[in-house]
């Protein structure tokens, strides 16, 4: 049997936002380890983490109609089931769309996403930059 079919999957609404650690990390430098650590993650409610059966720090793939990204997961008691949080940054921005509906503002909060357990690598900042450049 294809093992991938057995990977647990859940549907959530994702929001992004500032965290103190992301702020302090960016002031150290966007190329710093502190910045990458604080922004390449998703916070899940305890119920959702349970449903996925993952440990703290386990890797998940987040997919929306706009893109997909592999990030580390972290449990957050403050989140209700079905709501997930990504700190602002280039990892989160892989899965938010650019449509602004005449306002200039993309929808950075309130996007439907699928989250699944994953054993692919979390991309480095360099990988994301290469992704922006696309095929030469």
């Amino acid at each position: 049997m294809n093992e991938e079919l057995l990977m647990p999957k859940i549907d959530v609404t994702i929001i992004s936002g500032r965290t103190a650690e992301q702020g302090a990390g960016l002031e150290e430098g966007k190329t710093s380890e502190r910045y990458a650590k604080s922004t390449s993650l998703i916070e899940l409610s305890p119920a959702d983490a349970e449903a996925l059966g993952i440990d703290e720090g386990g890797k998940v793939k987040v997919t929306t109609p706009h893109g997909a990204v592999v990030v580390y997961s972290r449990r957050s008691e403050g989140l209700d089931e079905g709501l997930a949080f990504l700190p602002y940054g280039p990892w989160a921005n892989q899965v938010f769309g650019a449509a602004t509906y005449g306002t200039g503002m993309p929808l950075y909060k309130g996007v439907e996403a699928e989250v699944e357990v994953c054993d692919e690598d979390v991309p480095s900042l360099g990988d994301l930059i290469d992704g922006f450049r696309g095929d030469p």
Binding site: T13, I15, S16, G17, R18, T19, A20, G23, A24, G25, L26, E27, E28, G29, K30, T31, S32, H66, G67, S76, E77, G78, L79, D80, L83, F85, Y88, G89, P90, N93, Q94, F96, G97, A98, A99, T100, Y101, G102, T103, G104, M105, P106, L107, Y108, K109, G110, L125, L128, I129, G131, F132, R133, G134
Partner: protein, 430 residues
């Protein structure tokens, strides 16, 4: 050893002006009164600094300025973007550059409180300074805003803890309410936490307004909030001596965007029939309010300004940076004190990666990695003086606490040099 007192922090819109910075042997060795982010900014300011380069190769300042001017002057639809983490002098020069180029000038408010500006232009604003909040507010509501992570000393200096003239008890004399979709640290620090469904702010604001007006809600709950909680908060708001709603990107970046702010203003307007009530956006970058102010006094508009016809036109949704990039319209860009490659959706960044980009910044960022020309600058508020506007519109003077490395100029001076070269290329007489 030199000690600098009353230093203004150049990180967030609070512009805390009570920092104490110690400098020894050309290095910052101590920071007092700062939050964790501010401390990181001052203590790590020398790390991961950007180099002067053209096409990834080391360049002279003159060479980089020449290439920057050539890239921009040769473009049909150049974009000038960023500006919220530099001083007002640089912002003025950026507007001038956009005019000389016949390009678009936009600032980071298009992806933070741009929707707030759209709403306030429609319906007005009941505004105040943070000093008034400190001295008078006995009810403080944080709506879709998390100062414990983003504006870390706001509660300590202005909105919760301080003893004010008419709030002599300080924290005990104020009722703090947090409205959010998740239980943040702010929610735990508040006296009352109201959890609203994601995307349900507009309906909740309208229901609150109705309750303030005396309407008895027929629904059992609105956006996940029980009717009795809504009635309770409405009553508390009406009974306040002076109340204020501080709102954040929870309102501007969710479905509804500017209409959420419109509804918040409507609620505050209704409350002013009963008591004094105010609202204030929690502005993020330290001089984003200045970017709006300077752009407005120079062009008449706060952001998303197009000079293609030789005079300023304003149209968020069309001349805003995410739209210009995602539609593939911009064919060159100059980014000042900002990192759109980290903050814009990937679809917009992929276009930025295709066009020639000039970036003025202090540090290496995803945007500098995608840039043809990178020009390091003297950091505003650390290595260069200047003026910045606090989130409530109060201008403060940024201090220079450290000599910049040799050859580093402030944003304003680099922009002046680029403008000069662009004018020459375009054949204009200075």
């Amino acid at each position: 050893m030199v000690e600098h007192f009353d230093v203004v922090c150049p990180f967030c819109g609070c512009l805390c002006d009570d920092l104490e910075i110690t400098v020894e042997g050309g290095e910052i060795t101590g920071v007092k009164n700062a939050c964790a982010i501010s401390r990181s900014k001052f203590m790590n300011h020398g790390q991961n600094r950007l180099g002067l380069a053209v096409d990834g190769k080391e360049a002279s300042l003159e060479g980089a300025i020449e290439e920057a001017a050539a890239v921009l002057a040769g473009a049909k639809r150049p974009l000038v973007y960023g500006l919220s983490s530099t001083d007002c002098g640089a912002i003025g020069r950026a507007v001038e550059l956009a005019e000389v180029l016949g390009g678009v000038v936009d600032n980071t408010s298009s992806v933070c409180h741009g929707p707030t500006i759209l709403a306030l232009q429609q319906v007005g604003e009941s505004k105040t300074t943070l000093g008034e909040v400190k001295n008078r507010a006995d009810l403080v509501v944080f709506w879709g805003s998390n100062p414990t992570e983003a504006h870390m000393r706001h509660l300590i200096r202005y909105s919760a803890m301080p003893k004010g003239m008419y709030v002599p008890e300080g924290r005990k004399g104020r009722h703090i309410v947090a409205v959010d979709v998740r239980e943040t640290r702010m929610a735990r620090a508040a006296d009352e936490f109201i959890k609203v469904d994601q995307g349900g702010d507009f309906e909740l604001l309208l229901a609150l307004r109705a309750a303030v007006r005396g309407v008895k809600l027929k629904a059992e709950s609105v956006s996940g909030v029980p009717a009795e909680s809504i009635a309770g908060l409405a009553g508390r708001m009406k009974a306040a001596k002076v109340g204020i709603v501080f709102f954040g990107l929870g309102l501007t970046q969710s479905e509804g965007r500017h209409m959420n702010i419109d509804a918040a203003v409507g609620l505050v307007e209704e409350l002013n029939h009963h008591t004094k009530f105010l609202l204030s956006p929690m502005r993020g970058h330290f001089n984003v309010a200045g970017a709006n102010s300077v752009t407005t006094w120079q062009t008449g508009y706060p952001y998303a300004v197009d000079f293609a016809r030789g005079y300023p036109r304003y149209n968020p949704g069309e001349y805003t940076s995410v739209d210009l990039l995602a539609k593939g319209e911009a064919d060159a860009a100059i980014i000042i004190a900002s990192d759109p490659a980290a903050t814009f959706p990937a679809e917009a960044v992929r276009h930025l990666a295709k066009i020639p980009v000039v970036t003025l910044d202090q540090k290496l960022t995803p945007t500098t990695m995608l840039s043809r020309v990178t020009i390091p600058i003297a950091t505003a508020g650390v290595e260069a003086e200047g003026t910045a506007y606090r989130m409530d519109g109060v201008p403060l003077r940024l201090k220079k606490v450290l000599e910049p490395e040799e050859g580093l100029l402030p944003d304003e001076e680099v922009l002046e040099a680029i403008i000069g070269r662009v004018k020459t290329i375009k054949g204009e007489v200075e």
